[in-house]
Subunit: 101 residues, 2 copies
Amino acid sequence: MAIRHIALFSWNSEATPERIAEIEGALSRLPGLIPALRGYTFGPDLGISEGNSDFAVVADVDDADGFVAYRDHPDHQAALGLIKPLLAGRSAVQFVLPEAD
Amino acid sequence: MAIRHIALFSWNSEATPERIAEIEGALSRLPGLIPALRGYTFGPDLGISEGNSDFAVVADVDDADGFVAYRDHPDHQAALGLIKPLLAGRSAVQFVLPEAD
């Protein structure tokens, strides 16, 4: 039962381009550090719609254990340490991905 | 420049299982109706984390024009007609997907 984890962030006024770039750097290293990750995409909102959040992270894992391994991994927790001080809002969902065709 | 569109929904008290199933049915038909869609996954939150939203939709398209074609397509608009009355909250992001390896 593959699972897709999604988190959308809205940044506060502390979120400078430099600090966002630091977060992107940390996130970009996670696929090489967290074996449970099967797919990992993230990035800033493109600004093509009104009222959007500012940033998205999408992590695909094999199952609930894979999600917990990702969530609790020290390198993911370190990235969250960069993210949390900049958060004005966060929404998230984990849902089941259909079996690949 | 492939784009990933994400929308996360929180349901209000009107969101019965039957109405959510009707929405899932409508969403499941969209890939066959909207040529711009390159990837389309959606589903209810699994309930494995505190404070999550209730439902996620992820649409992958080739570019901004593809996103507009999806967003404005009559069948997508019809699905939104089922979704909007049940919304307590919505967050969304469109971001650039890395080129496939």
